[in-house]
Amino acid sequence: MPQLVTVRVKRPDRRPIRIWVPVLPAALVFAPIVILAVLGVVVACVVFHVDVVRALGTGWRIISALPGTRFDIEQDRTAVLVIIR
């Protein structure tokens, strides 16, 4: 499971922004929204006749596979970097 998401934004003539998001504390803070989202997924699965357990399992597998992902985009002195650890 991801532990830390790092976001860095560099813009011309402005101070660069660096944000470190610890995933577990953030997930705990946003727990009510996460629970609502999971309930929404369960309802959608029931409506579209999709196996709920399989769908949630696959979703969890995707989240677990996220560490190591890195996006680094640079254009015209503007740069965005996202690293998931």
Binding site: F48, V50, I62, A65, R70, D72, E74
Partner: protein, 140 residues
């Protein structure tokens, strides 16, 4: 022996160039080829873990760069997600693809085939080299 080296030796044999010129041409050829060769063999043989997309492009005089690294595990999980798409949604997607001139039947695409595709991605190398842009897609 590659084709270019053979051409140089042929020109030398025909007397079109001197031995010194041939040596210079072969040296230049080796200099051009060495980065490609080292790029191909740089990765240690073994299971690749990441898919890398590197794009360097010159736009309006400014250099743009995109460097993306995606774990192959994420692609495998994504393939499993694709298997969850309900048949009616696949039918609609097929109809839209047909409408756009892409006669592709998504229902015939089995998860095992997609998994096999992801499994063999580590042998893939895409290199596009133009004067103002360079794209590399590979696994590491």
């Amino acid at each position: 022996m590659n084709e270019q080296r053979k051409d140089i030796l042929d020109m030398l044999a025909e007397g079109k160039i001197t031995a010194e010129e041939a040596e210079q041409l072969i040296a230049a050829l080796e200099r051009d080829q060495s980065p490609v060769a080292s790029g191909l063999t740089a990765r240690p043989r073994g299971k690749a873990k990441y898919l890398r997309v590197v794009v360097e492009a010159l736009e309006n005089g400014e250099m743009g760069r995109v460097n993306i690294r995606v774990p192959l595990q994420l692609l495998r999980a994504g393939v499993q997600l694709a298997a969850l798409i309900p048949p009616q949604a696949l039918g609609k997607a097929n109809a839209e693809l047909n409408k756009s001139g892409v006669p592709f039947d998504l229902t015939q695409l089995k998860p095992e085939q997609l998994e096999a595709f992801v499994e063999h991605l580590d042998e893939m190398l895409v290199e596009i080299d133009q004067t103002d842009a360079k794209v590399r897609i590979f696994c590491e």
